[in-house]
Chain length 116, copies 2
DNA sequence: GGGCGTGGTTACCGGCGAGATACTTCATTC
DNA sequence: GAATGAAGTATCTCGCCGGTAACCACGCCC
């Protein structure tokens, strides 16, 4: 799922699951959408939000997501120029998925904590 | 995201998003869970359900999911012996995510159709 | 005014996950 | 006796992803 129509990732053309995963399946994509859901953020803020992503991959993912219309990219003419990313309306469509992922992840964590 | 604790895929240890994606991020994983959600299915049925997945990857994914307790594997002594896979209770926990993915995928497809 | 830090991006290299295709084993069926 | 079907395994290749390093334009500091 990261495609130029991320060609090889969960293709299965007629399947809504695969269609959606083609957008959010790329590494770190859910995290990026999550952190942008509370408002626009700059590149370096996203790096701080998601410390384990490398700058290279973050750039790649942001470019892909922009290309697909999930987020917008605006260069601010500060110096040095910084770049602000924001979810588009299309990007907001994915929030139910991101939220479900976060909730299930939290529930699993709670269970693990309760079991320990 | 798909791991032996799929090591390099969305690690970010403290994040519920990454925790959940570590389970369902592997290629074809959402599809497998989706088709198992309506009841146990055999290997060859899953292959027919998801025609674009190769046998190798399907085997890998099923093994991983079994190892993590998301599904169970039962060898039936028919001849030739067949193998039946079924979601466990833990596996069922992921259904909200799978459903959200399917719904958003469907909505995107509807929009695309409406736009055309 | 030359070295240094900063924000964002790109180039190069290596590992491993994933796709494609072919082959295996055993028992039934024609 | 050949073909078929179930459930894989083997091999090869390709592309994503991670890490490191370099890049460019600007402002700072002594």
């Amino acid at each position: 799922m990261t495609l130029k129509r991320r060609k090889n990732r969960t293709p299965h053309p007629m399947c809504p699951l695969s269609d959606c995963m083609a957008f959010i399946g790329g590494a770190w994509t859910p995290n990026i959408i999550w952190y942008l859901s509370s408002g626009p953020r700059r590149f370096s803020e996203l790096r701080a939000d998601i410390p384990l992503v490398s700058a290279k991959v973050l750039t790649q993912r942001l470019r892909e997501l922009e290309e697909r219309g999930i987020l917008s990219r605006a260069v601010l003419d500060t110096s040095p120029p910084s770049v602000e990313y924001a979810l588009t309306d299309l990007g907001l469509e994915f929030m139910p998925v991101i939220q479900a992922i976060a909730e299930v992840g939290q529930r699993l964590k709670d269970k693990a904590a309760a079991a320990a």
